[in-house]
Symmetry: C2
Subunit: 245 residues, 2 copies
């Protein structure tokens, strides 16, 4: 029995998210189909986490157990010829038998892309959040520091999640600007459902002077989703990397 680990990039535009669903095209569904074509075995893919419809990934991590004899390092090449062109395996390798893409993860990096311009851009529509009003980046940077460290982030979690432990640690948030694109990177030990998108929505409200920097500790303390900002749209979000020990 081998445990195969894949690092996967995908453009989510055409998919109904990561998770397999009946009658809908999903990344997990397409990957399982390609693996079946290759090894004639129905494997159960474990992803590091679900990505919602519209959320892209450059470094989603996936693993599965199989009795097939093909060497784990060969899967990337063999699967890429069978996958649609919006999914690509960057790397495949053998993992320890106990490795689990989700439970073994010790951290994640997400990137969020804002297109900050008065006019919207058709070219960027599926790859960024269009914010048409001006944003004060210095203010957003100072605000982002308030998220750092270990907190109960319940207020930054969409309702409907059944997760119990809502304490997470954010190690770093970095905001850079190139031309009219603002890229916000989030590095943490894990993120709750929609947490990055709600943090971005809140930062955008601060950057446009609809909120104060000092709102953030108050929102965190409230543990109330309604106190936080709006959920920024899915298509600006990218799962960049998953970390393991």
């Amino acid at each position: 029995m081998r445990n195969v680990k894949l690092i996967v990039e995908y453009d989510s535009t055409r998919f109904y998210g990561w998770q397999k669903q009946p009658n809908l095209i999903t990344v997990q569904g397409e990957l399982e189909k390609a693996i079946f074509k290759l090894i004639k075995e129905k494997v159960k893919l474990i992803g590091s986490g679900r990505t919602d419809k519209g959320v892209h990934a450059r470094g989603q991590v996936v693993n599965f157990h199989t009795n097939a004899t093909i060497h784990p390092s060969r899967y990337s090449f063999a699967l890429n010829t069978k996958l649609p062109d919006d999914i690509f395996i960057r790397k495949s390798e053998e993992a320890d038998v106990k490795f689990h893409s989700r439970y073994s993860a010790t951290g994640k990096e997400y990137k969020y892309v804002i297109y900050n311009n008065e006019l919207r851009s058709p070219i960027l529509r599926n790859y960024s959040y269009h914010v048409e009003y001006g944003l004060d980046l210095q203010k957003m940077r100072r605000a982002s520091e308030k998220f750092l460290g270990t907190h109960d982030f319940s207020a930054f979690m969409s309702t409907g999640s059944s997760i119990r432990d809502t304490v997470r640690t954010i190690h770093d948030i970095n905001i850079i600007e190139k031309d009219k694109l603002i890229e916000i990177s989030f590095l943490g030990n894990g993120f709750l459902y929609n947490m990055v998108r709600i943090m971005v929505g809140t930062l955008v409200e601060i950057g446009s002077n609809r909120r104060d920097i000092e709102d953030i500790p108050l929102i965190i303390k409230s543990k109330n989703r309604k106190k936080a900002g709006h959920t920024a749209p899915a298509q600006g979000l990218y799962l960049e990397r998953v970390f393991y020990d």
Copy 2:
């Protein structure tokens, strides 16, 4: 009679290029449909030039004559609500009665985007040319200088074009690199059919040491398409701006 000038951005992924064709979705066709919905008049759109299937535009310029009473500056707002989300009018304004998007143009700027990485990227697949081998940017920059000035660029024109005067002037070529993206900007008084894509193909061959810098003057002199490099793919090309006096 009013002459209306539009500046148009589009993501060409879904379209069969700019030019209207029966039974195919094109940018010109969609724009003419939206204008008809608005003013109930079949106008003849004049573009600054055709863009092929897959070629994007951030600054295509278009004009049309109409008897409609709506003020030219209002078209952008009114049309954007009727257009599909991969076309967007950045600006509309009244133009001189003699203004012609193609014949009045005095220059154009194109950008070409190369994704230079061993691995391909699903996210960038419709927006860049994937070159998997290493490129020597310094060599490409020195080579690009050989294109500058006024030359007969017949060797850099795809066959099938009926154009007679094949002399063009290139004012500037600029190559920048950000992460794994290489962006090449071309500024000239005009470009022949596929000229930018063949120049890029040739520069890529030089950057990967399959050709010498000194090949370029020899290719230009030959006036023979077969001497030049390959035609780089459409999806890396962007029409950025059209200049008028």
